[in-house]
Amino acid sequence: MRILVLHAHPVETSFNRALFRLVVDRLEKAGHQLDILDLYAEDFDPRLTRAERLSYHDLSINRVPVDPYVGRLLAAEALVLVHPVWNFGFPAILKGFFDRVFLPGVSFGMVDGQVRPILHNIGKLVVVTTYGGSRFRAMLMGDPPRKIAKRVLRATIRPGAPMRYLALYDMNRSTDASRTAFLKKVTNVMDAF
């Protein structure tokens, strides 16, 4: 399968980067064709510009500033996100990837002012993520990143496509045992991709 692996963490030695490496390693070993998009390594600018905003709904030109990224997104058959949750949301660099690349005509169409999802080339979605706070605390806050993944992204990709949300909560108080167990879980899901 052609899998786009989207990663967003700045620190080489972080646990999140270790998860990213694990994901890439297991998927490669299983013989998948990977397209690795490490937003920090690419120095991706997440700020949607004035020009982009003004041409946002013009399907003939809206993708021009981010054309290579649109091409990679549309060429993928599956999408894997590996990112931390900061302040109950995506890191800005990843939020900006949605703002700038998931455009009208790419991930959704507009019919009579309403959104119609069209990213139907993506037939599988897996999110691997880490939270500083506990699951309970995230739930109290409405757990925005989980809902974006499980409701918005799931509604954007091919209808009925399988989706997994793998989250390690409470990183601030994680132990070797909890991290090892999570690595094992991610390994299993990647091996069965």
């Binding site: 703002d99 806050m141 925005p144």
Partner: protein, 195 residues
């Protein structure tokens, strides 16, 4: 009240700019003090780099990447966010401002032992959001209104215990009309006038 207005939109002639102007105008008329942050105008960089992330959990004020913003945040008694909702959440620019400016020691403390983080923004007694959404109201709530929750629950947890909140959204912006926008502007003015 000293209100920090955090405005984020790339287009100076946008409807969001009109909302910002109306909000600032009403706050001043009601006798509040306003400090306006315009993230696009100042070219704020929302991307937290590796060094900053490494130091984040032990960040002290002397190391703060944006001392000016930190000072303004510390002086605020109310914070009003004016932004467009993109992908159900905050524009990356604004998300990065939260990530990089709302640091430990300034906004919260991670305890040494067990227990939740300790809020330090207890001088903030009002958090407000004025936004525009492409989606309809019902769908925004089905997906959990991520932008609203991030600010009014996530960031609110770092503010005063009885911190009041305010949320106003113009839904279905892509079908908005002159009349619907004028109505929304008027309701924003009316709401802020009786803060």
């Amino acid at each position: 009240m000293r209100v920090l207005v955090v405005y984020c939109h790339p287009v100076p002639e946008s409807f969001a700019a009109g909302l910002r102007d109306a909000a600032v105008d009403e706050l001043l008329k009601a006798g509040h003090e306003v400090d306006l942050v315009d993230l696009y105008a100042e070219g704020f960089d929302p991307v937290m780099g590796a060094d900053e992330r490494r130091r984040y959990n032990t960040m002290v004020m002397a190391d703060h990447p944006f001392p000016g913003h930190a000072e303004r945040l510390q002086a605020a008694q109310g914070i009003l966010f004016v932004y467009p909702t993109w992908w159900y959440g905050l524009p990356a620019m604004l998300k990065g401002w939260l990530d990089r400016v709302w640091t430990p020691e300034l906004t919260f403390k991670i305890p040494d032992g067990p227990g939740p983080i300790v809020p330090l923004m207890t001088h903030v007694r009002l958090l407000g959001v004025i936004t525009t959404c492409g989606a309809p109201r019902w769908w925004s709530y089905v997906v959990g209104h991520p932008g609203k929750r991030t600010i009014l629950r996530g960031m609110r947890a770092l503010c005063a215990r009885r911190c009041r909140t305010l949320f106003m959204a113009h839904y279905m912006m892509d079908k908005s009309t002159d009349a619907s926008r004028a109505r929304f502007l008027a309701s924003v003015r009316a709401r802020l006038a009786r803060l």
